[in-house]
Amino acid sequence: MDIIRARDLTVGYGRTEVLRDLDFTVPEGRITAIVGVSGSGKSTLLKTLAGLLPPLSGGFDFAGSLVDYRSEASLRFLYGKIGVLYQGGALLNGLSLFENVALPIRMQYPKMPEDMVCDMVYASLAQVELAGSAEKYPAELSGGMTKRGGLARALVLDPDVVFCDEPSSGLDPITSALLDDLLLRLKETFKMTLVVVTHELRSIERVADSILVVNDGGLRFSGDYADLAAADDKFIRTFFLRKDSHDDA
């Protein structure tokens, strides 16, 4: 079953169309990678899917319901079902890691007993192996820890879909591989749907079940890695297989 289904979706800022007429689906319980070169519109698409940037035209269904940006109830429904890991982690600097992860619980369920909040926060932090750093502030965390902290916050209310904006960018290969392991574990253990924006080829090969390639203002490819390897598209061959035009000749 597909949890997201986009139809004629055009995304962009103001009057500038970044990606036009996209038709794609995101299968439930799998990891979908949105791939493209820098500036191709991957993050813009992610923002639209996460309810932050209204589409310029077209739209998308989430869990069977059309997301209506003009309706507060529709956006609330969407926000209640997703978690987002931002590129820089986006932890609030004035709050400790514990308080950051507890924030969605305290805001959504203000009457939840503090003991339960603590249990949920520590369970989420343990998933990303940060339970020992709960009292630290974002300024005291490394880049990888900040991203894992952001992921813990995105996971704490067990969302149906987690969007990850370039989770490995700026990280060393070991930390990056650890984050990939974590994404795989979330998928396998919790049957979670993950949408990952990335251009890390190793990461795509390792974690992605389904791949959407965006380039030149449109969707260039949709399928799995095996289809991708067999694709006869010059851009895809150049991007993924590192074959340039000389090889093609």
Binding site: V84, Y86, A90, R106, Q108
Partner: protein
Amino acid sequence: MNEPQAAAATPETILLPRRIRAPEVAALLDGICRSAEAGPLTLDFRDVEEFDSSTLALLNYVRGRLANVVTVNIGGALARAEESFVRRPPTEETKGPPSGGLPSRALTAIADRFIFQAKSLGRFLAMLGDEVYHVGVYLKERKGVYPGETWNQMFFMGYRSFPIVCLLIFLVGVTISITSAEQLRHFGADIYLADLVGIGMLKELVPLMTGVILAGKVGAAVTAELASMTVLEEVDALRTMGVVPEKFLMVPRLLAITLVVPLLVAMADVVGIFGGIVVARVTFGTPPSAFIAEMVTAVDWTDFGWGLIKTVVFGWAVVVGAGFKGLTVGRSAEEVGRATTESVVLSITLIIVIDCLFSFILY
């Protein structure tokens, strides 16, 4: 890619050196332009072996701009590089001037600016309305705001602002008293300094100065903080957590300013009047008790109350203006600085406009 020699009679020829990179191009360009003005000129590239993008830009420039110049003996690597040299698209300048004369363009620019400002004002007023609604809803439901945040903001806005507010208001009290005392002395109306200081401080100077100090200290800090949060995607993160940032971030600040302003104003009134008492004592030898006794005949609690109300309104203008600038900032660090400056200007402008409106109501 050799080119034929120029057909013009005895053109001057410049044989370019083996190495022609940015420093050599810069040194040669003036000479080439002067020679091209004097008559036909041939640039011979036969010896050129070391070059860079500035060499290619030079080729592009002389071909596009200098009709008298012919380039010859371009071959090998330079020819290949020239083939792959991507030329910039035509700019506005090369496309020709925009349609319409200067007055028409100036009017269009003024109209665009006016529309932009009108839209900004609309968004600001919409945000003000939203904030009044959010504060009302929060006071009723008591949720949607981080616990303890209002106290943190009260500490920052009140306790941290207290010393600078007191110092500046004291100095304003002293200054206004010295200036007025000199004039009152001419009429033997020394004692009326108390009336002047009392009314001036309670109704006008304390509210205005406190508002301006809050704009500089609190407004700038609020904008910088919110703008940084916007740039670092923290505001987006709040939104996708189902939190309304305009409520979560603004309500504690608005409640804090509403609660601390009365305390600040009360203290500032005391300190400002104390400045007047000091000057009256030193200048006229007026005893403090006489000063206060005279002052209470001229002012009453209504004056204090209006001053308080004005300052609370100024405080709201500062915080809403700061929030508006902070939450509508772009995505670059540079815009954080610009938003902060604009926030202070906006807040002070609002304070003066509101003060003017109050003057119509009160006098």
